[in-house]
């Protein structure tokens, strides 16, 4: 397995556990961490086809869009793992409607996000943060 693929799987697993993936509803969890389904199809056959609502890979299988939306995760003080920056081809990142997610915005936007040089779209909505966004833009 290529190095980038190992890192991709590792990053996705950290995201899954950071947001208590085992407690997600089935529609959101769909195939997550399955060894028999490509990670590009984890939640890939969701009925929601809109741009914002699915994960996406490029032709090589590198993640270009990571979406966690319409979950009912009820995670208090959830922290975005800095390992997310291992998804170096990421162009879009969307965390939405995460009812009950609260905490520091700086935890949701780790400083390392600055290293995602291909990121063009960033959306976080419907969450609750206790602090303004102390983002350090590189």
């Amino acid at each position: 397995m290529q190095q980038w693929r190992k890192q991709q799987l590792f990053a996705l697993a950290t995201v899954y556990y950071a947001f208590l993936g085992d407690s997600w509803p089935g529609s959101e969890k769909q195939h997550y961490l399955s060894s028999s389904v490509s990670e590009c199809d984890w939640r890939g056959d969701d009925t929601l086809q809109a741009w914002d609502f699915t994960n996406q890979c490029d032709l090589d299988g590198r993640f270009t869009r990571l979406t966690l939306d319409y979950t009912d995760m009820a995670v208090i003080g959830a922290t975005m793992p800095p390992e997310i920056t291992l998804l170096s081809s990421l162009e879009g990142l969307l965390f939405g409607n995460n009812v009950g997610i609260s905490g520091e915005m700086s935890d949701m936007l780790p400083t390392q996000l600055v290293d995602l040089s291909n990121l063009t779209r960033l959306t976080i909505w419907g969450s609750t943060f206790v602090a303004p966004s102390p983002i350090t833009w590189g």
Binding site: T120, L122, S127, F129, S133, W137
Partner: protein, 76 residues
């Protein structure tokens, strides 16, 4: 992250003022900040972003400076 063109942080209960440092992301064209509890004035650095086409704020709590093109978004 300097390639960012789209930044949407709507409906997150954010408060405080809008960071002028956002103006360093010079490729930004779409900024959605409404549905929060932000206050103060939109920093000139945002208004002057060369590619800006959409800048949505809560006009009842955030002031849009003269010459800056803001759109008023609604609370959820």
């Amino acid at each position: 992250m300097t390639q960012l063109t789209w930044l949407s942080l709507r409906w997150n209960d954010l408060f405080g003022t809008i960071l002028s440092a956002l103006g360093q992301l010079t490729n930004l064209s779409d900024i959605y900040l409404y549905g929060n509890h932000l206050s103060g004035t939109v920093p000139q650095s945002l208004c002057q972003l060369p590619k800006l086409t959409e800048l949505w704020i809560n006009c009842d709590t955030v002031t849009c400076p003269n010459g800056c093109e803001c759109t008023c978004g609604a609370d959820p």
